[in-house]
Subunit: 341 residues, 2 copies
DNA sequence: CAAGTTTATGCAATCGTATTCAGTTAAATT
DNA sequence: AATTTAACTGAATACGATTGCATAAACTTG
């Protein structure tokens, strides 16, 4: 008669069966007679009963929950979050929902002890790691995850020594296509904006794709045309300044992210250069703003819906004990106004 | 000597105390001797021990988790999620993280039994409801939440009969400012895009602010200049078509969302009209794309960082048993290119 | 019809922590 | 010195499900 919450005991009593049978019935166990099951379910519905997921989780040792860990550029502080990852986040959540998994979202600084926090504290059955940025020290922690037998998938590149499952887009191929397109348009001096050293493996792969395209067309790779930039808009602006100051001739820029491209275009405009007449620009990611920008931005599209779907299905597969291989998604070039032609 | 996970018993044994003391020490209870506490904490660290949140939650009956329920326009299916809400989502998560709360994200169709699902199943201590869209039947479910004594806050307007705590921006005031600005620029025939009837209370409030501004300037409110539109870009396009077909003269549009505004501008352009020379357009939300759009979009800015902060602090306050009042955030007009002047 | 199977069900033991209640010292008070 | 008080600690239990094991009834089968 307690005013407490309804438990499986209450509904067991009401249905004239044991609590164990209630538990089984609600989970559609074949062990319980169909008629009994229906009766139990009806009573449960009448009492607005819902299984206490905490208790269930404790007993069964899994939470039916996936954790998304989004690693932020520590530099970014209070500014808005990279729209590309927000979009990923949304699509992952949807994909998880389709499979009846809940999603726990968490922003992390790379310095944190995230590798312990979720692996052990039983909040999630598996982890999805998302993020650009400086991955130094990242591999170590991922290794700890592996050793702890945590289930997780990483979005991004399969870095050196990065064990575990990875879902990523074929950055090199996307960059190759983008650069080749610029070459096809007759551009000869194509600059690359995006870090190659301390930055993310994604950016490095994009640089490699860029180099490959140049070589494939018989053009020289001029290291002096590569400028560091993290994924922010401001980085695009400063890279542009560096480029201009270098005095090198250039007629195109391939930026490792849309935000970099946008930052660059704004800066170029401020200097009186016309896009795409004087300079062709191509970005990467195809964030929503890319199509709204003026000029609309030619960019490499990553299918975040497919990516979310893949990440989730991969991770859930691993949770269920299946053996899975890393996957590479094929990006596609979206041609818009910023490159001319 | 089980190979199982480390529990509080393991560390109790290792530290030569009881499990109860371990539990207390790790939670900084004043009941345990400082020296003992330090020793316990050290052992815990050595063993990489983390409290099992599931077990803790079961025992203490709270999860230290907030759930975000994002209500989607059922029309939207697989398209991308409204960037405004993605941004809210990000900022809420950050605000929650600052207070050491985890965040559970869930997309819901309004038809679902969400009102039961989270209220009872103990997944979250409190709920944040987000979403535009048709709120019919929404109030009922919110009432059920209230009756079930669920802790929750709603983002949006305090609708009729919408009990419970609400955090929202002052839509009427934002709309008033936006419309007044258009009037100040000399526009006389200002259309309004956004539903007034079956749509969200937010949109209705924005319409009211629009009307108020017209009246305050001694202008007529012409009901024929109001066109229904949900928050999507396509809706903006179709509203534009309707407006053009109506044959009414117009020199400005106030759209209830940025996406509507963008859809409208694209359509107007396709018809050969110049923005802002022929038609001034103002939006609402200040999504990232607004500043990138061509022409850059004049819009009403909602501070999503402050909103996230408010929602979380309010909700956690309620969870802790404090009495809280609904809050109204002040939006601000961001003047850009699309309105001229 | 006896023996073996299948089908449904209940009992009771977990899962790992938080917390109540009852000590056991050591310090303070009279 | 006797007694109260304060400061810690531990044993035991509760949280609400899941699940291995035992068992009874119903059903096959030779």
């Amino acid at each position: 008669m307690g005013s407490g919450k309804t438990t499986s005991f209450d509904i067991a009593h009401r249905a004239g069966v044991s609590q164990a049978t209630v538990s089984r019935a609600l989970r559609d166990s074949p062990l319980v007679n169909p008629k009994t099951r229906e009766r139990i379910k009806r009573v449960a519905r009448e009492l607005n009963y819902q299984v206490d997921r905490t208790a269930a989780g404790l007993r069964s040792q899994h939470s039916h929950t996936l954790a998304i860990l989004l690693f932020e550029d520590p530099t970014t502080d209070d500014s808005q979050i990279n729209p590309f990852f927000l979009s990923m986040l949304g699509n992952i959540t949807r994909a998880a929902a389709r499979r009846n998994y809940d999603v726990l979202v968490s922003f992390q600084q790379l310095s944190d002890d995230w590798h312990i926090k979720y692996q052990v504290s039983n909040r999630a059955d598996g982890i999805i790691l998302l993020g650009y940025g400086d991955y130094s020290g990242f591999a170590d922690k991922v290794d700890k995850l592996v050793k702890a037998k945590a289930r997780f998938v990483v979005w991004g590149a399969t870095g050196p020594g990065l064990s575990g499952q990875t879902i990523g887009c074929d950055n090199a191929s996307g960059a190759f296509d983008a650069t080749s397109h610029l070459i096809k348009l007759g551009r000869k001096n194509i600059a690359f904006f995006g870090g190659t050293t301390h930055n993310s493996p994604e950016f490095r792969q994009r640089y490699e794709g860029y180099c490959k395209a140049l070589r494939a067309a018989g053009l020289n790779v001029d290291a002096g045309l590569q400028f560091d930039a993290d994924s922010q808009e401001t980085a695009g602006a400063s890279a542009t300044v560096s480029l201009l100051e270098s005095g090198k001739p250039f007629d195109a820029i391939f930026a490792a992210s849309d935000l970099i491209a946008i930052g660059a275009i704004k800066r170029l405009r401020a200097e009186g250069l016309r896009i795409p007449t004087d300079v062709s620009v191509v970005g990467f990611d195809n964030i929503p703003a890319a199509s709204y920008f003026n000029p609309s931005l030619t960019t490499v599209h990553q299918d975040t819906i497919a990516a979310g779907e893949q990440l989730v299905s991969q991770l859930i597969g691993m949770i269920k004990g299946e053996q899975r291989e890393s996957q590479l998604l094929q990006p596609s070039l979206v041609i818009r106004g910023s490159c001319g032609g």
